[in-house]
């Protein structure tokens, strides 16, 4: 079984529990904080995942961290299950799959908007609304400023890219000049 499949299985279980008890957003937030903590302190990650330490010691560290973070009982249990099954190293992938499943449930699609200049809120809202209308789903975008675009914007959602940058127009013009090549 691949890592992605494993992650999806655990994420689906957590989504189901969160839907039932109405704490899915809380679980999302707690997982996010847990992962941020592990990323911030790599030695903590090592203490939990390194097999040089005994299972009991590593589990003790995990429980202490969860207790100190004030995680919910369900999240503590979920992390213990991951640990006992030897899947704690996939917690990042589980979190990504969890977010995707929540988005699917909420009919949300995520993407990114790159702009040559900082976008105003109104422009961003216009873009988001246009994308939502086009895709028939709620669109959540991350905005990036990229001066190399010269002007205009580029939106990427999933594998689809809508390039409205001046750089793309210039590239098209260059191809036209080269392809049409009557001198």
């Amino acid at each position: 079984m691949t890592d992605a499949k494993v992650a999806r299985r655990y994420a689906k279980a957590l989504v189901t529990i969160g839907m039932e008890d109405g704490n899915r957003d809380l679980y999302c937030k707690e997982l996010d904080q847990f992962i941020l903590l592990l990323n911030e302190y790599p030695e903590l990650t090592g203490a939990i995942t390194n097999f040089l330490y005994s299972h009991k010691e590593r589990k003790g560290v995990l429980d202490a961290v969860a207790e100190r973070m004030g995680l919910s009982v369900t999240m503590k249990s979920f992390l213990r299950v991951l640990f006992d099954n030897g899947r704690i190293q996939f917690v990042d992938a589980v979190f990504d799959a969890y977010k995707k499943m929540l988005d699917e449930a909420d009919n949300i699609v995520r993407g990114e908007v790159r702009s040559a200049k900082k976008l105003s809120d109104s422009d961003l809202e216009k873009i988001r609304a246009a994308m939502s209308l086009r895709l028939g789903r709620q669109v959540v975008v991350k905005v990036l400023v990229e001066p190399a675009l010269i002007g205009g914007i580029v939106t990427r959602i999933g594998d689809t890219v809508w390039d409205g940058s001046v750089r793309a127009h210039l590239a098209g013009l260059r191809e036209t000049l080269q392809g049409g090549g009557e001198v």
Binding site: D123, K126, I127, A130, G151, R174, L177, G180
Partner: protein, 205 residues
């Protein structure tokens, strides 16, 4: 000659010729001695006697000659020599005829030599013309191929040059356009670009 008669026969012939000469000389001396002794009246009788001796001498000589000829088979030798000469003559005659025929053949060939030369020259000219035509034809084909290749190369080089020029030109145009756009692009233009982008998003099928 020695091969025909042999040395023995030659020796016998020499001995017989000597005997005949001695006998002949003896007869002559005897007759002259008789004349001197008798003289005068007895001249008529002596002449008859001399004639008889001469006849006798001649008969002996003739007998010796006949004997010698029979002894040495001179007739057969002469016959064989004649036959050989006749055979040689026949052989020479046949050789002469062969030579005459060869001469006639050579004469005829010489007479036809000009025609042969003309024929050979004509054939050579004909072959030469054919080879010349073939060479010209092949040269024309090669020239056409070279011309075609050259045209293709020229066309290809022209296309390459056009493409290269277009690339350089488009590169320069793009650099210039980018520079101008960067200088001239205002916030209002960015808003307009966003509006156009949104409109395109809505209209794209």
């Amino acid at each position: 000659m020695s091969s025909i008669f042999g040395r023995k026969k030659i020796r016998w012939s020499f001995v017989m010729a000597t005997l005949v000469t001695l006998i002949w000389c003896g007869a002559v001396l005897a007759s002259s001695g008789g004349e001197a002794a008798s003289g005068g009246q007895a001249g008529g009788i002596d002449k008859v006697k001399d004639l008889g001796l001469r006849a006798f001498n001649f008969a002996v000589l003739l007998g010796l000659l006949i004997f010698a000829c029979k002894k040495f088979k001179v007739g057969s030798l002469i016959d064989s020599r004649r036959d050989k000469i006749r055979a040689d003559l026949a052989d020479l005659e046949s050789k002469k005829r062969a030579a005459e025929q060869q001469l006639a053949s050579c004469t005829a060939k010489l007479a036809n030599l000009d025609q042969e030369v003309d024929k050979i020259l004509t054939e050579y000219n004909k072959d030469g013309e054919a080879i010349k035509a073939k060479i010209i034809r092949e040269a024309e084909i090669a020239a056409e191929r070279i011309r075609s290749d050259a045209n293709k190369i020229v066309e290809y080089e022209l296309i390459e040059a056009k493409s290269r020029l277009a690339n350089e030109l488009s590169g320069q145009v793009m650099q210039l356009a980018e520079k101008i756009i960067v200088e001239k692009l205002a916030d209002t233009d960015q808003d307009r670009l966003v509006d156009e982008y949104v409109k395109q998003i809505r209209t794209i099928q």
